[in-house]
Symmetry: C2
Subunit: 438 residues, 2 copies
């Protein structure tokens, strides 16, 4: 008998980030960064770790959704399951009863994400590789098998995907060596939270330049006069050569977005991120046409590949910001990378939160080695908090993510973190006056 | 001190409908119709009832999501809350932490739906009216206050909504009298489940005509040859004068949908429902252009008003099939009715499942009296099972829904049903071999 998957355990883990206004923006005034965390156990002495990222309240609901997926993994033969993650993905996502809860969106889809990513973590550990390298070593045919092309074929067929991957194949070894030598460019969001005062903003902008970042990001959308003042400070601090992205976090209606971005144009914003509802494909396209040459970036709340497909078809975005843990994990993100490559749109992933940097770097590095084959005009978001809770935290040096070498996906939190930040009974919360309850 | 909302209780209620293949279609092979059911208690001797509809597995996750909303209602002053359901809605939907779990989609949004609808049930009982009449007695200004126009203003402004409602105001009394006299047209889906054999199909088609229905619906999308045979049987049974809608339940990609519907064209299908992913605004528009004069209908899985807005903007549908319990309850459906009226698209609600007929009739009747002012080309879906579990079941007579007169929203299940069908410990499930677990 071969090894089996024997358990699925969950943890409701929350960090009291709202106390310092880290992560504060126009829509998320007081986030408590949280993880609905999952550990998949085996009788082979290996564990897979994954999580859905939330910002506090509701993390218990998210955790319950992950538990509902237990029957889809516990009891599977380990090697067979890991060799057919495309099949495991489809059985979970298309379960004839569970899909009613989405389909393929929201809490239930993020739960699939956590489980799928944990399975990839497990597979990468079993093969002794980081996930980016594991993916980049697959053949084009194996990569295509990971993807569910349902609802995509009017924009991308399996044959077209194969062609994209084959075109990138000859340069894989050269790009891998280059990636290991120089890393992958990052930009930093750390200076720009809405809750920071002007002095803190100025200091962090100067620090970002000193740290080697070529792009920073500021939160906007609360008050136009404040945004103008803060953008002026930031532009003065970083100079004309550093890109400043702005991020409205879905704050505006279509017309407001257009007016607001035009009022900020004098500060040369590189992109405007999430100008309106993440569901509004047509609204984003209208905004994109109206604010050019300022570009639209979006994706951290885009629910699945079907919405990304339409955003690419409609010209809704110039930068596609996939998230490692909102769509249904690695498999769906491979589909999204292929869609972006088909349409020639650069992917600049969303990160930050807790653990998202750790995960998403693998997807961008895989994209560089085996899909788009390019780092041009591409950056991964970086936020410099909560990394100390991870067993293999990201390393960012001179404005670049260093390619990880540890086997796995980087999702594993330290045991002490799981204990200390357990909600509501861990010591961080049990002694706190401001819990994350409503 | 005035009355308060004092409790929020939930029930996981499931019906073993998969045993008889009632409800079987191309995507939902074996549904166990279920309700994540909520009872909102007060110290005024009144209760409000609501639910989210699911089809089995995951109903526990849905129930947990409803419980997460307890802090938003328990402790509210009853009359103030009921007088400001627009405000209560916004506070729940836009909670700065919970919205991360959607935003406004999937499990968390359906949970809001259950709670909001329970509050409307409570308000209607307190005012001694059925919900349709309660809504139809509000002034245009009061109706506009129920709606959150965020993300809608590029298609519908509060001023335009007011204009639509004022235009309908003079005819309200006449239409109400007419509605009470003749009811609202229904169509029936009962003949057409995929799991039924040809004889059962033929018999139920003939029965539908005898019962006075002018439209029936058949599930399609499993196998083209089967669909052609079944449509031929149905067309022969009902004759040329009865409309036959077909429903693919999201089975197809865009290209397949176009080919398949063209292959069925000889049987004169009235509309094709859910031809592809409910998220695919542009895909639906492509299909609609290609299959005309066959019409596209969709909506039961459309997640919120932002997606409906785009479907109207893009010409994705000819019939808008809102669902009473998927978007965030009455308030969001008022927004959707107003959007449909603005674009001149008839609303033909989704129903069936369990309790959806009971709820949605109120929305169509309100639409007729106070919004669109028309029943032309409009029908409410009707499926004839599980009504016996409700305290105030719908009455359908001669192919028409009879306007309900009992105070409330019709969502209240019988206490015996809540006990017998409790999952997993109620007698219906405890004695069963095929539970609804995965």
């Amino acid at each position: 008998m071969g090894a089996e998957i024997t358990s699925l355990r969950t943890h409701d883990v929350r960090f009291p980030t709202s106390r310092d206004l880290d992560g504060s923006d126009a829509m998320n005034a007081d986030p408590d960064y949280s993880a609905a965390y999952v550990v998949i156990g085996t009788d082979a002495g290996l564990e897979g770790h994954g999580f859905a990222f939330t910002i506090g309240r509701g993390n218990d609901v998210q955790t319950a959704a992950i538990r509902a997926l237990e029957p889809y993994v516990v009891g599977l033969a380990l090697d067979e399951a890991l060799a057919d993650l495309g099949g495991v993905w489809k059985r979970m996502v298309h379960d004839s009863q569970l899909r009613w809860l989405g389909p393929e969106k929201g809490v239930m889809h993020m739960a699939v994400s956590a489980v799928v990513n944990a399975l990839w973590d497990l597979r990468a550990k079993r093969e002794g590789k980081p996930v980016w390298k594991l993916l980049a070593d697959l053949t084009p045919e194996q990569i295509v098998e990971l993807v569910d092309f349902r609802y995509l074929t009017d924009a991308l067929t399996p044959g077209e995907a194969l062609e994209i991957l084959r075109r990138a194949e000859p340069g894989r070894a050269r790009r891998e060596a280059e990636l290991r030598a120089t890393g992958y460019p990052a930009y930093t969001t750390s200076p720009g939270w809405l809750g920071y005062d002007d002095d803190k903003l100025r200091g962090l902008c100067e620090q970002a330049v000193a740290d080697g970042f070529g792009q920073i990001k500021l939160k906007v959308g609360g008050d136009l006069d404040d945004d103008i003042r803060r953008l002026r400070i930031a532009r003065e601090a970083v100079g004309p050569g550093v890109r400043i992205a702005v991020d409205a976090n879905q704050r505006w209606d279509v017309g407001t977005a257009i007016d607001w971005v035009r009022a900020l144009a004098e500060f040369d914003p590189w992109w405007v991120e999430e100008p309106t509802s993440p569901d509004d494909v047509l609204g984003h396209a209208t905004i994109a046409r109206a604010i050019a040459p300022v570009r639209v970036a979006t994706g951290e709340h885009v629910q699945n590949r079907v919405v990304f497909k339409q955003m690419l078809q409609a010209g809704s975005l110039s930068y596609l910001q996939l998230d490692a843990a909102r769509v249904a994990g690695v498999n769906e993100n491979v589909a999204i990378l292929l869609l972006a490559a088909k349409f020639g749109v650069p992917v600049c992933p969303h990160a930050g939160g807790v653990g998202l940097c750790e995960l998403v770097q693998h997807l961008s590095m895989f994209d560089y080695v085996a899909v788009s084959g390019s780092k041009e005009d591409r950056v991964i978001e970086y936020v410099d908090h909560l990394h100390e809770h991870f067993a293999d935290p990201v390393v960012v040096r001179d404005g670049h993510y260093v390619a990880p070498t540890a086997p796995g996906f980087g999702a594993a939190m330290l045991p002490r973190t799981l204990a200390d930040h357990a909600y509501p009974d861990g010591p961080v919360w049990a002694t706190s006056e401001n819990g994350s309850g409503a």
